[in-house]
C-alpha cells in the first residue's frame, strides 16, 4: 500500500512573478506614457496629474484616471470585459451592441413634444427663407433591423415607431423607412451609425424627385472606396468585432469647389482619401464636420440649396452637389450663428433641406437653440 502523495507547499514563485508583472505594468503606465489621443476610443486620454494641493486634493482621482487610461494592453482589456459582458447576456449594457448581425446603438430617447417643436421651428425658418423645404430623418439602424431581433429587443426599438409616424404627418418629411426596408442590409455600415453611400443615394434620389429634379445615376459620379473602416458603434461597443466596413464615396467628376468657412480653405474635391485610413475614417467625406461649407459645381443645374445638417449629410452633400450649382451646408454644432442669421446672410436660396438623425432632431439642444 503506498502512502498518499502529499502536495508540496508552494514556494510562492508564481505569486512573486504575478506581483512583479503587476508592478511592471504599473511602472510602464506611469513612466512610459503613450500618445495623448486614443484612436480606437476617439478621445483624448486623461492628462498627467497636476501638482497636488492639500486644500484641493484631487491627486487620487487624477492618478487613477491617468493609470486607467494608460494601463498596458488597455484595448485588449476593454475587449475582454465587453466580450465577457456580451457572453453573459449583458450586451445591451455596452455602448453599442450586436443584434441581427450588426452593431446597433441603443434605441432613441423618444420625445415627441420636442420633435413637434423642432418641426415648427423648421417650418418657420423655411417661411423666413421664402422657399420650399424638405426634411430627411433616416430611420435608425436598430429600428430597421427590429423585426429580425429577438422579441424583447424588438419591442424596445418598436417604441421608435411614433417618431416616424409623427414625422410622416409633416408634408416636408421624406419617408425613407419603406425605401430602406427593402433596399437590403447595406444601407448602413456594420460598424458605424451612419448610412452608406447606398443609403445616402436613396435619400438623394428621393429628395431630387421631391424637389422636381432628375437625380444623377451613381455612375455619373466619380466613385472611390477604402477598406478597413471601423466606425463609432465599433468603438462604443468595446467588442473585438471582427468585421470592417468599406467606405464608399461619390463626388461630381471634376470642376467642384469646396470652401470651408471655418478656416477659409478651398479644395477642388469633396472626398479626402487621406482621412479614410485615419482614426476617423468618416472624415473621408468633406474632411469631417465643419460649421459652414459651400460647394460650387458649375456643371450642375442652377439653384442654391441650403442644408442644415448633422454628420449624416456628409456622405449626401457630394451627391447633392451634382444636382445643385451651389450647396451651402451648416452644422449647428460648429457654427456660431443662429439658423435665422445664416438664412438672412445666405442671399437667394431656392430650397431648404434639413438632414438630421432622429436623435439630433429630438434631443440635440444645440440644434434646438440655433433653430429658434
Amino acid at each position: 500500500m503506498t502512502a498518499k502523495k502529499r502536495k508540496a507547499p508552494s514556494s510562492g514563485r508564481a505569486a512573486l512573478l504575478g506581483l512583479s508583472l503587476l508592478l511592471a505594468a504599473g511602472l510602464y503606465a506611469l513612466f512610459f506614457p503613450q500618445s495623448d489621443f486614443s484612436t480606437w476610443e476617439r478621445r483624448y486620454l486623461s492628462s498627467a496629474p497636476s501638482a497636488p494641493s492639500v486644500a484641493d486634493w484631487r491627486l487620487d482621482s487624477e492618478v487613477e484616471a491617468y493609470l486607467s487610461d494608460r494601463v498596458p494592453l488597455r484595448h485588449i482589456l476593454v475587449n475582454v470585459d465587453s466580450s465577457v459582458q456580451a457572453l453573459t447576456g449583458r450586451r445591451t449594457q455596452l455602448g453599442a451592441w450586436p443584434a441581427a448581425g450588426a452593431l446597433v446603438e441603443e434605441p432613441l430617447t423618444v420625445s415627441l413634444n420636442s420633435l413637434e417643436r423642432r418641426l415648427k421651428q423648421f417650418g418657420a425658418l423655411a417661411e423666413e427663407a421664402g422657399c420650399a423645404w424638405s426634411l430627411i430623418v433616416p430611420p435608425t439602424h436598430g429600428y430597421l433591423l427590429r423585426e429580425r431581433m429577438e422579441p424583447l429587443l424588438s419591442a424596445l426599438y418598436e417604441r421608435e415607431t411614433p417618431v416616424y409616424e409623427a414625422l410622416s404627418a409633416e408634408p416636408a418629411y421624406l419617408p425613407l423607412n419603406s425605401l430602406f426596408a427593402v433596399a437590403g442590409d447595406d444601407v448602413y455600415y456594420q460598424t458605424d451609425h451612419h448610412w452608406t453611400l447606398k443609403g445616402a443615394y436613396l435619400a438623394y434620389s428621393a429628395f431630387c424627385a421631391e424637389a422636381g429634379r432628375t437625380p444623377l445615376t451613381l455612375a455619373a459620379f466619380r466613385a472611390s472606396e477604402y477598406g478597413g473602416f471601423r466606425g463609432t458603434t465599433w468603438s462604443r461597443s468595446g467588442l473585438p468585432w471582427p468585421l470592417t466596413d468599406t467606405l464608399r464615396g461619390a463626388e461630381p467628376d471634376g470642376g467642384v469647389t469646396l470652401t470651408i468657412s471655418d478656416n477659409g480653405e478651398v479644395y477642388d474635391h469633396l472626398l479626402f482619401p487621406e482621412q479614410a485610413g485615419g482614426w476617423d475614417g468618416y472624415a473621408l467625406y468633406l474632411n469631417g464636420n465643419h460649421g459652414t461649407l459651400t460647394i460650387e459645381n458649375p456643371a450642375a443645374p442652377e439653384g442654391t440649396l441650403l442644408v442644415f445638417k448633422d454628420s449624416f449629410a456628409n456622405c449626401l452633400l457630394p451627391l447633392l452637389s451634382g444636382s445643385w450649382r451651389t450647396v451651402i451646408a451648416v452644422d449647428a454644432r460648429y457654427e456660431g450663428r443662429s439658423f435665422r442669421q445664416v438664412i438672412s446672410e445666405a442671399g437667394q436660396v431656392d430650397r431648404l433641406l434639413f438632414v438630421y438623425s432622429a436623435d439630433s432632431v429630438m434631443n440635440d439642444t444645440v440644434v434646438a437653440r440655433k433653430a429658434r
Partner: protein, 452 residues
C-alpha cells in the same frame, strides 16, 4: 485608497508585498505603518491627522490607565469619549442637526465635513483595545509602532474586519517573513475577493442602479429583481472586501478572523447574524449586549437589550432613521424567532430549503429598508406600479444570468471536494485579468461599506 483601483493593484500592492518580504525583520513594522498611512491618506491627506489622533489617544490613554490609582477610571472614560467625539462629529452631526431642525422651533445651522473613510471601523477597533485593557483582557502595548500598525493595518483599516487587539498582538510582535504558501494562498483569496467585488457586486449594482432610478418604469418584476440584485451587491461587495483584507493579511503573514461564513445559506435570522459581518456582531455582543446584561436576565430585559443593541447596530451602519429602523426590524425578528420558532420541534422539522428561503426573503426585505428607498420601493414590490416597461424587461433579461450565478454562489452548498480549498491555481490569474479588464472598461465604484 481602494483595493480595486489601479494605483493599488499595480503599484502599492506589489511594492508592499514584495517589499515586506525583502525587508529585514526590524524594518517590516515601520514599513507596514508607512504603507498603511499612505493607503489611508491617499484619498485625503487630512484624514491622516484623524488617524494619528486616534493612534496617540488610545496608545497614550491605555498607558495612562496602567498607572492605576483613582484617575484610572477617569482616563478610561475620557479616552472613550474622545474616541467617540470625531465619530459623532463626522458621521452623526448632520443627522442630529437635521433631526433637531425637524422637531425644534430653533433651527441649527452648521456645515458638516465629508465622512472620513472607515472611521467607524478604526474607532470601534481602538475602543475594543481600550476596553480590553480596562478589563484586563489585553496587555498594554508600550511600543507605539506596534499599536499604530494594529490600528492602521491597511488590509482592514477602512472596511474591517474589526480585529481585536488580542487576535493580532502576538502576530504583530513576531511579524516573521511570510512563507511562499502564505503569499500564494493570500493572493488567491485576494483575487477571489476582488472578483466578488468587481465582477459580481459592481455588475449587479449597476442593475440595481438602473432599477432604483425609476421604480415606476421598473414595475413589480423590476422592483423584486432589483432588490434581489441589491441583496447580492451588498453581500459580494462586503464579503469581497473581507476576502481581500484577509488575503492581504495572509500575504503579510497575519491571520485575521473570518467575517462572513456564507450568510445566505442560513436557515434562521439568528444564524444569519452569526454568519454576516461576524466581527461587528461580536463587537456589539462583547462590548454592548453582555455589559447590558446579555441573556442572563429577565426575558423582557433581554428583549430590551436586543432592541438597544440593534438600534445601535443600525446607527453604526449610517446616520439615518432608516438605518435605525433596519436595526429594529432585525431586533424584532430575532426576538420573535427566539420566542416562537427556534427550538420548536415542528419548526425544526420544516425542510431546510424552506427555512433558508424564508430567511433570505426576510433579509432581502431588510435590505429594502437599508437602501433608504422606502415608499417607492415598497410600492414597486407590492405591485403598485404595475407591469415593467420594455426597457426594464430587456435589463432583467440581460442581468438574469448574472443574478442566477450570484444565487448559485450564495445559496448552494459548496461541494464536499471543494470545501476548505483555496482557489485553483489558474483561477487567480484569470480572475485578476478579468478584474483588470472590468476596471479598465468600467472605471471603479466605491465600496458600499466604505462609507460606514
Amino acid at each position: 485608497m481602494l483595493f480595486c483601483s489601479f494605483i493599488f493593484l499595480l503599484l502599492l500592492m506589489p511594492v508592499t508585498l514584495l517589499g515586506y518580504r525583502l525587508l529585514p525583520e526590524r524594518g517590516r513594522l515601520p514599513f507596514l505603518l508607512a504603507v498603511s498611512v499612505l493607503f489611508y491618506g491617499w484619498a485625503s491627506p487630512l484624514w491622516i491627522l484623524l488617524l494619528a489622533f486616534s493612534m496617540v489617544l488610545n496608545w497614550g490613554g491605555a498607558l495612562l490607565m496602567t498607572r492605576g490609582g483613582r484617575r484610572r477610571r477617569w482616563v478610561f472614560v475620557l479616552t472613550l469619549a474622545l474616541n467617540l467625539l470625531p465619530l459623532v462629529w463626522f458621521k452623526y452631526a448632520g443627522f442630529l442637526r437635521d433631526t433637531w431642525n425637524s422637531l425644534a422651533p430653533w433651527p441649527l445651522s452648521f456645515a458638516t465635513p465629508p465622512l472620513p473613510a472607515g472611521i467607524s471601523f478604526f474607532t470601534f477597533q481602538a475602543m475594543s483595545y481600550l476596553i480590553d485593557v480596562w478589563r484586563g483582557k489585553a496587555k498594554v502595548q508600550r511600543r507605539f509602532t506596534v499599536f499604530a500598525v494594529y490600528l492602521s493595518l491597511f488590509p482592514q483599516l477602512v472596511a474591517g474586519p474589526i480585529v481585536r487587539y488580542t487576535d493580532l498582538e502576538a502576530q504583530l510582535l513576531e511579524h516573521p517573513r511570510p512563507t511562499g504558501e502564505q503569499l500564494t494562498n493570500g493572493l488567491r483569496r485576494f483575487c477571489a475577493g476582488l472578483a466578488k467585488k468587481l465582477l459580481l457586486a459592481d455588475s449587479v449594482g449597476r442593475f440595481w442602479g438602473l432599477i432604483n432610478a425609476d421604480f415606476a418604469a421598473a414595475g413589480t418584476l423590476g422592483a423584486w429583481l432589483g432588490l434581489l440584485a441589491f441583496s447580492f451587491q451588498i453581500f459580494f461587495d462586503f464579503s469581497g472586501y473581507s476576502d481581500m483584507a484577509l488575503g492581504l493579511g495572509e500575504c503579510l503573514g497575519l491571520r485575521m478572523p473570518e467575517n462572513f461564513l456564507r450568510p445566505y445559506t442560513s436557515a434562521s435570522i439568528t444564524e444569519f447574524w452569526r454568519r454576516w459581518h461576524i466581527s461587528l456582531s461580536s463587537w456589539f455582543k462583547e462590548y454592548v449586549y453582555i455589559p447590558l446584561g446579555g441573556s442572563h436576565c429577565a426575558r423582557w430585559r433581554r428583549d430590551v437589550n436586543m432592541l438597544i443593541v440593534w438600534a445601535l447596530t443600525g446607527l453604526w451602519h449610517g446616520a439615518g432613521w432608516h438605518f435605525v429602523l433596519w436595526g429594529l426590524y432585525f431586533a424584532v425578528l430575532l426576538v420573535a424567532e427566539k420566542r416562537l420558532l427556534l427550538g420548536r420541534a415542528w419548526y425544526e422539522r420544516l425542510p431546510h430549503a424552506l427555512r433558508q428561503g424564508v430567511t433570505f426573503l426576510l433579509v432581502m426585505l431588510g435590505w429594502g429598508l437599508f437602501s433608504g428607498f422606502g415608499t417607492p420601493l415598497l410600492t414597486g414590490l407590492s405591485g403598485g406600479y404595475g407591469a415593467s416597461s420594455p426597457e426594464t424587461l430587456v435589463r432583467c433579461a440581460a442581468f438574469a444570468p448574472l443574478l442566477l450565478l450570484c444565487a448559485c454562489i450564495s445559496f448552494l452548498p459548496v461541494p464536499a471536494r471543494l470545501r476548505g480549498k483555496a482557489l485553483p491555481r489558474l483561477a487567480a490569474p484569470v480572475l485578476m485579468l478579468l478584474c483588470l479588464a472590468a476596471l479598465a472598461a468600467q472605471g471603479y465604484a466605491p465600496f458600499v461599506y466604505f462609507q460606514f
